[in-house]
């Protein structure tokens, strides 16, 4: 197995080097996307399939589409530059030395194992029964360290607000649907399936790999597919319902935390019998917010509409 690991590691490093050194920006982006997929593969091998799912869907998929879209909106040849190789000049040489030393030190540091095992992790696994979900990662995200997740929803929302302020949507591709009907047909076939997978992932998050983030990402992927195939597009107007859905994840989270203070006596503590329903409610609202936010981050517009609708 180490051989496969070594191969993966080698490929990852080569792709990373390619991503940095490629003269053409497009090649760099492609290298980055492939690297993301390989990374996801390696995470599966490291007993983190749910993270691999997230990386594949968000880190490689959505980000990849965004990178490619941005590349297309740049003037031709923009961003193509020759990155000096380590031996081409004093500064690259120095930087390479520094980075190499740092990488070696990091490697050594990553191999240092302390005597005692991770205290927090053990505690999390011990208290899993009280968390209302069976899946440890979901338990940490939505219960043990729910505060982090809530703040993270804030990050997502603010990145979205910032993006919308810029008013620079991705360029729309008008030719693609006209050229061939195949993608549209495929999309029609696959879309219900994708939606179903997404919802299942959210639901399954409580018991097995999956969860609000992965499910949300897949739902967002479905949305991206719809847009790419010309069924929907970004809209310059938004409505309060959409905004409420966007803010909904954080809002439900906050309100559940605040309103239950009198009942449980602590913030973000849920009453014994209601843990699982509350978890599910939070998961779905989070997933919806995440999906919509990622989709709007992709289109760069405040609203969405069906193609051709005004």
């Amino acid at each position: 197995m180490t051989a496969l690991d070594s191969l993966l590691a080698l490929l990852l490093l080569l792709l990373a080097a390619r991503c940095v050194s490629a003269r053409s920006l497009l090649q760099a982006i492609v290298a980055f996307i492939v690297l993301g997929l390989l990374l996801a593969l390696s995470w599966v091998r490291l007993e983190a399939p749910d993270l691999a799912l997230a990386e594949a869907a968000i880190g490689a998929g959505l980000l990849g589409v965004l990178l490619l879209g941005t590349w297309r909106s740049l003037p031709l040849g923009h961003g193509n530059e020759r990155i000096p190789l380590p031996w081409q000049g004093l500064r690259p040489a120095l930087i390479t030395t520094g980075c190499t030393v740092l990488a070696v030190l990091l490697t050594v540091a990553l191999h240092q194992h302390p005597e005692q095992a991770a205290m927090s992790g053990l505690a999390a696994l011990d208290q899993l029964d009280a968390a209302g979900v069976d899946q440890p990662v979901t338990a940490v995200l939505l219960n043990f360290r729910a505060y982090d997740t809530l703040l993270e929803m804030g990050v997502l929302l603010m990145a979205l607000i910032g993006t919308l302020m810029l008013d620079s949507p991705l360029p729309r591709d008008t030719e693609l649907p006209a050229r061939t009907m195949l993608p549209a047909t495929l999309a029609q076939l696959f879309l219900p399936l994708i939606l179903l997978i997404g919802l299942y992932l959210v639901w399954a998050g409580a018991y097995s790999p999956g969860g609000a983030f992965q499910g949300g990402a897949v739902l967002a992927g479905a949305g991206v597919l719809l847009i790419l195939t010309g069924f929907g597009e970004g809209d310059g107007r938004d409505g309060w319902v959409l905004r409420a859905l966007l803010a909904g994840g954080a809002l439900v989270f906050t309100l559940a935390g605040l309103l239950l203070i009198p009942v449980t006596g602590a913030f973000m503590a849920y009453p014994q019998g209601l843990v699982t329903p509350i978890m599910v409610l939070i998961e779905f609202s989070l997933a919806l917010s995440i999906a919509l936010s990622l989709l709007l981050l992709y289109t760069g517009t405040p609203g969405l509409r069906r193609r051709g609708e005004r």
């Binding site: 500064r91 120095l94 930087i95 520094g98 980075c99 030393v101 740092l102 030190l105």
Partner: protein
């Protein structure tokens, strides 16, 4: 009751802030100063218990001590008299600025007398020093700005010495109260360093030669009432500082204290002689202050050097300082009163000769007290100093009478306030001095010692009246220094071209202009890569460097 102590500096500060926003006129300032002074008098009479305000600044202690009680009394008389005399200065275009400086100076002055901990004292002292700059340059002419410049340079010099000393103290004992000072010094490795720094820093304010040069420049340049408080009250800040923040009887400071003693005595004579050759009455008075402060330095130096008992010296230091504050304040104010009639002229003559030690005046008592407590040869020297002092004050009277004056009529209450200060100057020492001193002052020997220097001085003055005397420029030592600086500047100009402060800044900026153009270009995104990648490289370097230092 003790809260009164807090009100005294607080009230003028509030007034000053009101003045800053232009919300206060001449009357507001007058009423405010009166009120503050009334409070101060109340405090002097009631002598309230010390007040500790741990929440204020770094923990403030306010209290009266033997010296500050007398000086606060003098301040409570002199500030209103000077404020009334300032009258018109509070009005008009520059009135706001003057009012602000005036009130802040007053707040600093009164606060300094009351504060018994290092931080508050320094704060008040600094406020007083820097606000007074506004008073010195108020007339805004070339002379005023020159005087202001010299004042500022010396003040900053003094303040930096002080700060250095204060930080040494603070490092040892945080923000020590006055009562903890001996302990703090005892715990220090090098008490003489901190002690000398503080001694020198306060010496600037006291006008100890050769740090006195700001006095003869600032006094004639400032408006008359400002000179009165400057000479009467502000210079005493140095005295208070010496006595509060230097340990008495500390052997480590003996050398420094002896040096101070010598400088004080030298100043007492030299300043009087230089002053006798001056042209303008206010300059003469300024030198008189330098001379008198030199005399006052003597007992302080004796105490600090451990050559005299603190208990015996402190009352007479207070007596001398209080008398000088009132008399000098009154004399400065009298510059406006000389042409107001014979009675006033007589009063002025008495006040002037009082400082020299005319029999039956407070000045005689003050000097007698000083002589009674010192060992030979100091009494003789003090008696001799009466000669030079008399010469100086005769010169003052002569120049004052020669001065054409403005001849404007002053309102009655201004005169009344001035008269009150004058009367207090004459009477105060009689109240404060103890019976043995009074006995000596009234005895035959005492009277003889008082009269002969005066007569001698009068004779010399009459003899020299018709002679052409050499003149010494105001601010004596400043003139050669300025001259030297001018020469150096001229030399530099010849070698590297004209230097003018404004131009210098332009050139400093221009010298980096090419780089600036580069930076402007860099400000465009396309070019900023350079600066940013340097920062990025620094990230790697910093991680490695920190790691190196952490392991």
């Amino acid at each position: 009751m003790s809260m009164l102590l807090m009100l005294i500096p607080a009230l003028p500060i509030l007034l000053a802030l009101a003045a800053l926003s232009g919300q206060i006129g001449r009357h507001g300032a007058n009423v405010g100063v009166m009120l503050t002074s009334a409070l101060a008098l109340l405090v002097v009479l009631l002598d309230p218990a010390p007040l500790a305000l741990p929440w204020l600044l770094l923990g403030t202690h306010l209290a009266l001590d033997e010296l500050s009680r007398v000086l606060l009394f003098c301040a409570a008389l002199l500030w209103p008299a000077a404020t009334l005399a300032a009258g018109e200065l509070f009005a008009g275009r520059d009135g706001r600025r003057f009012g602000m400086s005036w009130l802040f100076t007053m707040a600093g002055n009164l606060g300094m007398l009351l504060s018994q901990d290092l931080a508050s004292f320094y704060l008040c002292f600094a406020v007083m020093t820097f606000s007074a700059y506004g008073l010195v340059v108020h007339k805004a002419g070339n002379e005023a700005f020159r005087a202001g410049r010299v004042y500022l340079v010396l003040s900053i010099f003094g303040e930096s010495l002080l700060l250095a000393g204060i930080f040494l103290l603070a490092a040892e004992g945080g923000n020590p109260a006055v009562t903890d000072i001996p302990e703090v010094f005892a715990g220090m490795d090098r008490p003489q360093l901190a002690g000398s720094l503080l001694m020198a820093g306060f010496a600037v304010k006291m006008g100890v030669i050769p740090l006195h040069v700001w006095l003869p420049l600032a006094h004639p340049a400032a408006p008359v009432p400002a000179s009165a408080v400057l000479s009467g009250l502000l210079v005493k800040g140095g005295l208070v500082g010496w006595l509060r923040f230097l340990p008495d009887q500390e052997t480590a400071l003996q050398t420094a204290a002896d040096l101070l003693l010598i400088l004080g005595l030298t100043g007492a004579f030299a300043a009087a002689l230089v002053g006798s050759l001056q042209q303008r009455p206010k300059t003469v008075l300024a030198y008189s202050t330098v001379s008198q402060m030199g005399l006052l330095t003597v007992p302080v130096a004796l105490v600090l050097g451990g050559r005299a008992e603190t208990q015996t010296m402190l009352p007479l230091i207070a007596l001398f300082a209080g008398h000088h504050a009132l008399a000098k304040g009154a004399l400065f104010l009298s510059v406006d009163h000389w042409h107001g009639g014979r009675w006033r002229q007589l009063l002025i003559v008495i006040a002037a000769l009082g400082i020299a030690g005319l029999p039956l005046t407070g000045g005689l008592v003050a000097k007698a007290a000083l002589k009674s407590a010192t060992a030979a040869p100091l009494p003789l020297l003090i008696t001799l100093s009466s000669i030079t002092t008399s010469l100086l004050l005769l010169r003052f009277l002569q120049q004052l009478s020669a001065d054409p004056g403005q001849g404007n009529r002053l309102p009655a209450f201004v005169t009344a306030a001035w008269g009150l200060v004058l009367a207090a100057a004459l009477l105060l020492p009689w109240v404060l001095a103890d019976p043995t001193v009074l006995g000596y002052a009234l005895s035959g020997a005492g009277l003889r010692d008082a009269v002969w220097p005066l007569l001698l001085a009068l004779g010399v003055a009459l003899m020299l009246r018709r002679r052409r005397l050499p003149t010494i420029p105001e601010g004596d030592l400043v003139a050669p220094i300025e001259c030297a600086l001018r020469h150096i500047k001229a030399l530099l100009q010849r070698s590297i071209g004209a230097i003018d402060p404004q131009d210098l800044q332009q050139r400093l900026i221009a010298s980096v202009r090419p780089q600036r153009r580069f930076r402007v270009a860099l400000a465009r995104w396309s070019m900023t890569g350079e600066q940013q990648s340097l920062a990025a490289v620094a990230i790697i370097a910093m991680v490695l460097l920190l790691l190196l230092l952490l392991t």
